[in-house]
C-alpha cells in the first residue's frame, strides 16, 4: 500500500518557508563572520619568509618614514613601550647595533606601542636612543604585524621579506648582530 503524506497530499501547495530560510542564512553568515574573526585572532605574528606589510611611521620629530621607500635596505623594526620593563633590557643594545650597522645602510625604526608621548620621550632620552622612533597611531602598525605584546622585533631584508623575528627582548648585542647579518645575507 502506498500513501501520500504532508500538506501536498491534502491539496495544499507546498510554499517555501522564506522566514526559516532567512534565519538559517543569517545564522550561517554570522557564524562565518565569527569564524573569520577567530581565525585572524589565532593567526599569531607574521612569520619568517612572509612579506612584511607596508606602513608609514611619523616620528616624534615629525618626519614621515614609509617602509616601502626603504626597499633595498635591511630594516629592523622594534615595537616597545615606556611602561614595558623587558624593553629596557634591549634598548641600549639596539642603539649600539644601529650605530654599528648604519654605515651599511641598515635602518632601525622604533614603533612606540600604546604609550604616552612624554613618558616615551623620557624613555628614549634615558637609554640614549637616537634612531627614528614614533608612535603607533591607532595601533595600525602593530595590528598589521599581528603583534601580541612588547617587545617584539622584526628584521626585514632588502626585498621586504621578514628575515628574522624576536618575540620578547634580545638577550645580547650578539643576538641582534646575528639577526641583522642574516638579513644582510652575510
Amino acid at each position: 500500500m502506498t500513501t501520500e503524506s504532508g500538506a501536498g497530499a491534502r491539496g495544499k501547495p507546498i510554499r517555501p518557508r522564506w522566514g526559516v530560510i532567512a534565519i538559517w542564512v543569517s545564522l550561517l553568515g554570522l557564524l562565518g563572520v565569527l569564524g573569520f574573526g577567530l581565525m585572524r585572532s589565532q593567526q599569531g605574528p607574521i612569520g619568517v619568509g612572509a612579506r612584511v606589510p607596508d606602513f608609514s611611521l611619523t616620528t616624534f620629530e615629525g618626519e614621515t618614514i614609509d617602509l616601502a621607500g626603504l626597499r633595498g635596505n635591511v630594516v629592523v623594526i622594534n615595537f616597545w613601550a615606556s611602561w614595558c620593563k623587558p624593553c629596557e633590557q634591549e634598548a641600549a643594545e639596539l642603539e649600539q647595533a644601529w650605530r654599528e650597522y648604519r654605515e651599511q645602510g641598515v635602518v632601525f625604526l622604533g614603533v612606540n606601542y600604546v604609550d604616552t608621548e612624554p613618558e616615551a620621550l623620557a624613555y628614549l632620552e634615558r637609554f640614549g636612543v637616537t634612531y627614528p622612533n614614533g608612535p603607533d597611531l591607532g595601533t595600525r602598525i602593530s595590528q598589521a604585524f599581528r603583534m601580541r605584546g612588547v617587545p617584539e622585533t622584526y628584521v626585514v631584508d632588502g626585498q621586504g621579506i621578514l628575515a628574522a623575528v624576536k618575540i620578547g627582548p634580545y638577550e645580547s648585542l650578539a643576538e641582534i648582530e646575528a639577526a641583522v647579518r642574516q638579513a644582510l645575507g652575510e
Binding site: 491539496g11 563572520v33 604616552t116 613618558e119 597611531l137 595601533t139
Partner: protein, 159 residues
Amino acid sequence: MRRAAILSGLSLFFVLGLLLAAPASAQEGEPTDDQVNAIAKQLYCPVCENIPLDVCPTQACVQWRETIRQMLADGRSEEEIRQHFVEQYGVRVLATPPASGLNWLVYVIPPLAFFGGAFILFRALRAWRHPAAAEAPAGTVNNDDPYVARLEEELRRRD
C-alpha cells in the same frame, strides 16, 4: 565715619569675592579623581583586555589616566579627550563601539535574538496548550481521504 563704613564694605566684598573664587579656581586647575574616572571608565587599554581604564592597575593605564587629568586641566571636553584616545590608540579603546562597519551587528543581533526567541517560545507554548488546534484545526479534516476513511472504519469495527 562714612569713609570707614565704605572701606569696611569694600573689604567685606573683597573677602567674599576671594572666598567664592578660591574653590572655582581649584576646580579648574586640578581635576578630581572622580572627573578623571568618569572618562576613564569609558575607555579600555588594549594591553589590559576587559579591564576598564578607571580600575586598571598597570603602568600603562596609570599613564593614560594622567593624560586624561592633564587634558581636563587644559580645559578639553570629554568628547575631545575620547577622540584623542581613538586617534592615538584606535577605536577599540572605546567601551561602546560606534555603530559603523561590522560593529552594527553588536547592536542589531541581541535584540533580534531576544525577540526571535520570544516569538518561538510564544508559538511553542501555544502549541503545547492547544495541541489539537495547532496541528489540525477544527473543520479541516479531509473526510475524502481514503486512508482516514479506512482508519475510521477499522476503529468502528473494533468497537
